[in-house]
C-alpha cells in the first residue's frame, strides 16, 4: 500500500515537473533573443516578430505552432537550463475573422538567419507554407532575414545544391491561396526571392530593403559602392523596379495594407471573394462625371477621381501606385463585391502603355483571374508608347504579354471606354473570347490607330499633290473624324452600349452582380496557362 502510494506520488511529481518544464520552455520562447537584443531592435524603430503578428491579426487570435523549437542547453544531469528559440515565429491567426497562416523571422535571434532544425518552420518549403496549402488559407510572410550564410558550409562539411529548400511549394501556393509578403527589414538571397513569389508585396519606407545580394557582395563583384537604401530601398524596389508592389510609411501602415488586400480576396481559389456590406447606394449617379473628360482631346484629367466617383465609397486600394504609372491598377468594390480595376492614366504619356505599365497590368489581370475577381477596364488608351526609349525598353513584348494575359483570363471582364481605345493595347482591354461586352461614354473614340496618327502616312500622295498640303491633311482628318463618332459604331452594334456618364455606377453594378452567377460555376484552380511570351 505504502509502496503504491509512493509510486503514485512519484508519478504526480514527474507530471508536475513536465508541466513546469513546458511552462519554462514556453516562457523562454517569449523571451526571443533577450531583452538587450529586443531593445536594440526597438531602437532601430522596428517591432519584434511577436509584436508584428499581434498588430497584424485580430486580437487574441494567434495560435502559435512550434513554440518549443530552438537550441537547448543542458546541465550535467541532463536537465534543460535554457533554450534559445529558433529565429522564426509562426502559426495561425485571424484577420477580420478569417483564418490566415502567418510567420516571420525573429531578427532578435541571430539576425533571423536560417536555423538548422529537422524541419524548417517558415520561408520557402517551411511548415507554414505547408499549413497554408493543407488548410487552404492565405499565407502572410513577415520577412526580416537574410537567409543562409557561408558559415553553414563549415558546420555541414559539404556544399548543398541550390534548391535544397526549394520554391516548389511557394510556387504551388500561387495558384491556391492568397500569398502576401511584407519585407520588414533587409531581405537578401532566399528571403528576397520568397518575397517576390507573392500576390501582393509591401515594404516599409526607409526601414526595409530588398536585393539579390547586399552592398559587400555588390562592391566585390562590380566595384559599386552603395549603401543598403541606395541598392534596394523602396525608391529602387517599389518606384523604379516594381520588384515590390507597395511602400508603407510605417510597420502599422504595412499591416493595414495587408489586412486591406486580404479583404478583397477569397481564402482560396475554390471559394468566391467575400461580399462586404456597403452604405453606398448602388443607383448613385454623379453629375461630376459629365464634365470630368475635358472637351479638348489633348488635355488629360484625373482618372483616379473618376474611379472614386464610380466605385463603392472608400473601397479603392491601389496596387503599385508609383510604378508603371501609365496604368492604374486597383482593387475595389462595386455594391460590396470585389472588383479589379485596370484604368489608363492620361496624365502619363496620355495613357499609352509602356513596358512597366504593361508588366503591372499583366500581374494584376492574372491576380484577379486567379481569385475570381471580375475585371473592369476603364479605358483611355491611345496605344502602345512609341519612340526609341519605348522600343529599347521592350514595350512591344511586355505590351503583348499584357494583351496575352487579358485574352487568357476566364474571369468576367467589362470594358468601359471613357475616351480613347486604339490599337493592340486597346485590344488588351476587351474579353474577346467571351461576351466582349463594351460600354462607352459619348466621349469615346476607337480604331486601329488615332486619325491624326495615320493620315499623313495613309494619304501621303494625296497630301503631297495638294496646293496646300497642310490644309489638305486637316481636311482629310476632319472628314475621318466625323466618321469616328461612337454613335456610328453603336448603330452597327460594334459597341454594345453608349451610356450617360452619370449612369456608370448603376450600369456596371448590374453586370458585376450578374458576373457572380458565372463565377460560382468556375471556382477552382486555373489550368496551366501555357507559356507567357
Amino acid at each position: 500500500m505504502d509502496d503504491r502510494k509512493t509510486a503514485q506520488t512519484g508519478t504526480q511529481t514527474s507530471c508536475e515537473d513536465r508541466f513546469e518544464e513546458l511552462a519554462r520552455r514556453r516562457a523562454w520562447s517569449l523571451e526571443m533573443g533577450g531583452q538587450e537584443a529586443i531593445e536594440r531592435h526597438h531602437d532601430r524603430g522596428r517591432l519584434t516578430i511577436r509584436e508584428r503578428i499581434d498588430q497584424l491579426s485580430d486580437k487574441g487570435s494567434f495560435q502559435e505552432i512550434g513554440r518549443l523549437t530552438g537550441k537547448a542547453e543542458y546541465d550535467e544531469q541532463g536537465r534543460v537550463t535554457h533554450v534559445q528559440p529558433a529565429p522564426y515565429v509562426m502559426g495561425v491567426a485571424e484577420i477580420d475573422g478569417r483564418p490566415v497562416a502567418v510567420g516571420g523571422e525573429d531578427y532578435t535571434v541571430r539576425g533571423g538567419t536560417s536555423w538548422s532544425g529537422l524541419r524548417r518552420k517558415g520561408g520557402q518549403g517551411g511548415f507554414i507554407e505547408d499549413a497554408a496549402h493543407e488548410y487552404r488559407i492565405p499565407l502572410v510572410n513577415l520577412i526580416d532575414g537574410s537567409g543562409g550564410a557561408v558559415t553553414s558550409l563549415e558546420s555541414r562539411g559539404y556544399t548543398v545544391f541550390p534548391g535544397v529548400d526549394g520554391f516548389d511549394r511557394s510556387v504551388e501556393l500561387m495558384g491556391e491561396v492568397p500569398v502576401v509578403s511584407a519585407v520588414m527589414g533587409t531581405a537578401a538571397g532566399g528571403p528576397a526571392g520568397r518575397a517576390i513569389l507573392s500576390h501582393f508585396s509591401v515594404m516599409v519606407r526607409e526601414s526595409s530593403q530588398i536585393f539579390a545580394a547586399g552592398p559587400p557582395v555588390v562592391e566585390r563583384a562590380l566595384g559599386e559602392k552603395l549603401d543598403r537604401e541606395e541598392l534596394g530601398g523602396s525608391g529602387i524596389a517599389v518606384d523604379t523596379a516594381g520588384t515590390i508592389d507597395n511602400v508603407a510609411d510605417s510597420e502599422e501602415d504595412c499591416f493595414r495594407q495587408i489586412r486591406r488586400f486580404l479583404g478583397y480576396m477569397p481564402s482560396n481559389v475554390w471559394e468566391l471573394p467575400p461580399v462586404w456590406p456597403t452604405d453606398d447606394p448602388v443607383d448613385r449617379c454623379e453629375d461630376a462625371l459629365t464634365s470630368i473628360i475635358p472637351e479638348q482631346r489633348t488635355r488629360p484629367y484625373n482618372m483616379r477621381r473618376l474611379l472614386e466617383l464610380v466605385f463603392d465609397d472608400g473601397s479603392l486600394f491601389e496596387i503599385q501606385p508609383t510604378f508603371g504609372k501609365t496604368v492604374i491598377t486597383m482593387l475595389g468594390r462595386m455594391n460590396g463585391q470585389s472588383v479589379g480595376i485596370v484604368a489608363n492614366n492620361p496624365m502619363v504619356y496620355g495613357g499609352a502603355m509602356d513596358a512597366r505599365g504593361a508588366r503591372k497590368q499583366t500581374h494584376f489581370v492574372e491576380l484577379c483571374d486567379n481569385f475570381h475577381i471580375p475585371l473592369v477596364f476603364v479605358v483611355d488608351i491611345p496605344g502602345f508608347l512609341v519612340g526609341s526609349g519605348a522600343e529599347k525598353a521592350g514595350t512591344l513584348r511586355d505590351g503583348m504579354r499584357a494583351v496575352y494575359a487579358g485574352l487568357k483570363a476566364d474571369v468576367p471582364i467589362l470594358t468601359l471606354v471613357v475616351r480613347k481605345c486604339f490599337g493592340m493595347a486597346g485590344m488588351g482591354t476587351i474579353n474577346k473570347k467571351s461576351l466582349e461586352f463594351k460600354v462607352a461614354w459619348p466621349s469615346g473614340e476607337w480604331g486601329s490607330l488615332p486619325v491624326e496618327g495615320g493620315v499623313k502616312a495613309a494619304y501621303r500622295r494625296e497630301i503631297a499633290a495638294a496646293d496646300d498640303p497642310a490644309a489638305k491633311e486637316a481636311e482629310i482628318e476632319e472628314r475621318l473624324r466625323r466618321l469616328s463618332s461612337p454613335f456610328r459604331s453603336a448603330e452597327a452594334f460594334a459597341v454594345e452600349e453608349i451610356i450617360d456618364p452619370r449612369e456608370t455606377r448603376p450600369y456596371i453594378a448590374r453586370f458585376i452582380d450578374l458576373a457572380r452567377n458565372r463565377l460560382k460555376t468556375c471556382c477552382g484552380q486555373k489550368l496551366k496557362s501555357g507559356v507567357r511570351p
Partner: protein, 74 residues
C-alpha cells in the same frame, strides 16, 4: 527650408511655361505643360513653396525623370 526637385514623368518637349523663378506656388499648381504623345501633360507643384530654379525653356526636349524645376518648401 528644403528644396524639392520637380521631375518629368514623360519624354516629350516643353510646350508652355506657367511660372517664373521666385513665384509662390501652391500644391497641384501647373508649373509647366509638356507635349508628349500628342497630349498636353502638366507638370505640377508637389507642395506649396517658391520656385527656386526653372531648368527648362519652351521648345526644349525633355527626357523621362529630367528635373524641370526646383521648389523651395517649408
Amino acid at each position: 527650408m528644403s528644396s524639392v526637385e520637380v521631375k518629368s514623368e514623360v519624354t516629350g518637349s516643353v510646350w508652355k511655361i506657367g511660372c517664373r523663378v521666385g513665384d509662390t506656388v501652391t500644391r497641384d499648381q501647373e508649373l509647366v505643360i509638356l507635349e508628349s504623345m500628342k497630349m498636353e501633360i502638366p507638370v505640377i507643384a508637389p507642395q506649396d513653396g517658391r520656385i527656386k530654379e526653372l531648368l527648362v525653356a519652351e521648345g526644349d526636349s525633355i527626357a523621362e525623370d529630367q528635373t524641370i524645376a526646383v521648389v523651395e518648401v517649408g
